[in-house]
Amino acid sequence: MARAVTNRRKLVFTLVAWTLALLIFFPILWTVLTSFKSEADAIASPPKFLFFDWTLENYTTVQERSDYARHFWNSVVISLGSTFLGLLIATPAAWSMAFVPGKRTRDLLMWMLSTKMMPAVGVLVPIYLICRDLGLLDSRTALVVILTLINLPIIVWMLYSYFKEIPGEILEAARMDGASLRSEILYVLAPMAVPGIASTLLLNIILAWNEAFWTLALTAAKAAPLTAFIASYSSPEGLFYAKLSAASTMAIAPILVMGWFSQKQLVRGLTFGAVK
């Protein structure tokens, strides 16, 4: 008897949760569906949900007309470039703060986080002019450098929170056994640090891929990543729903899949380890 009641409860929760989840997800689903429609079907009234002539034509059109592949490549270079550069700078810093903490480590961490409180528009003008004078407007180099800097505090914090959990006793044991600093890092610490570094990497790629202030303000045609490419659909072309959908689907698919895989690490990463 009790079992039947629990099952009924479970069924109700399942139905309500699925309905809400599908509602929240619907805009994405609708975009993906629309990307396979002809333009006529895309604006059909009443709307066609599943029963239309599926076509891949929009994808080829988007690539031919606006060179989607180039913008995709820009996004890849900018997000991977800034992430690897950021890790290169942040790993030693987080490492030393976690394993050789000083009196000021806590303050230093808070100060790094506080640089995130500075709104980007506050420094838009000088950054724009510096880029202009160095000939770096509409270049991937400028964006790699800027995204590295704005995400650096997050990378340091995330790595720090992971490194902090590596027990110090292991290091002492290795030292007692006569391990040199080099082998200590290479054989003892590195294997334990890799998972933390990997999830930091994933989260930062997602953040950099979707960054849409500097990428919009500093690029035109040449170095525009997907965020800026999609923004160019905001006027007349945006009325071609099927093509807009195809471009959007291609822009979000890789990062959506990546995000789904890293969702367990996401909470902890985004809250700098405050919520686990």
């Binding site: 309500v16 409180m117 003008v125």
Partner: protein
Amino acid sequence: MSTQASRAAARLMLSPAVILLLMWMIVPLAMTLWFSTLRYRLLQPGAHPFVGLRNYVFFVTDPAFSTAIVNTLILVGGVLVITVVLGILLALLLDQPMWGQGVVRLLVIAPFFVMPTVSALVWKNMFMSPTSGLFAELSKAVGLVPFDFFGQAPLASVIAIVAWQWLPFATLILLTALQSLDREQLEAAEMDGAPPLKRFWFIILPHLARGVTVVILIQTIFLLSVFAEIRVTTNGGPGVASTNLPFLVYARSLLQFDVGAGAAGGVVAIILANIVAIFLMRAVGKNLDA
């Protein structure tokens, strides 16, 4: 026991990150302050004379400024209220036993990974367009006149889009916080006959305080600088109805080429962000000590 040598090595490992961040903070900030005192138009070549605080007076007395400040606060506040309240409800729901919980979670967090320009454009054209958007079709189907979202309620529409993007974040964090709640405490309260609402108010909500704090802090940082969503949907309009502070600074400096006024606006934005940060830290900071 760290030796002298390992301390020196630690400082060496730390310095690139610290120096870079210090430069990133100080150099552009000093330049913004400097430019904000100059008469500096990008389209007018020649000298940039010093004008003192005139740019600030110009920027702050512009009627668009007060609108932008109010809009910024409404945007941040509106999105925070929506995402925290719905986030708590959704987290409570997702914490219940159900079939396919994993998939439901994936569906709910998906909007967070959609880049801002895509979600803004998809909502604007395919859902909120008064001519062929899905909402217009729905209203026509039930015999109503389609609502012109961005014409009639531009700021509210932007808030709706931004809230859709951030609801997953709030939900996910609150759900994680919820799952660390001690079940025995809840069961004990249930046995003692505490009704669900009381259990929520006196046990669950206090437990969620830390999670809510984190959500508010982090979202505020990002929401104060919402830009892309406005840029691709309304371009700040109609008029300045949906212009927030970041967009106003962008418009002054890169659309009207007035570097001086743009820089002054940038300084104002930094001051505003710091005021909000101080208030936040005061109001919610005690929840964060652990």
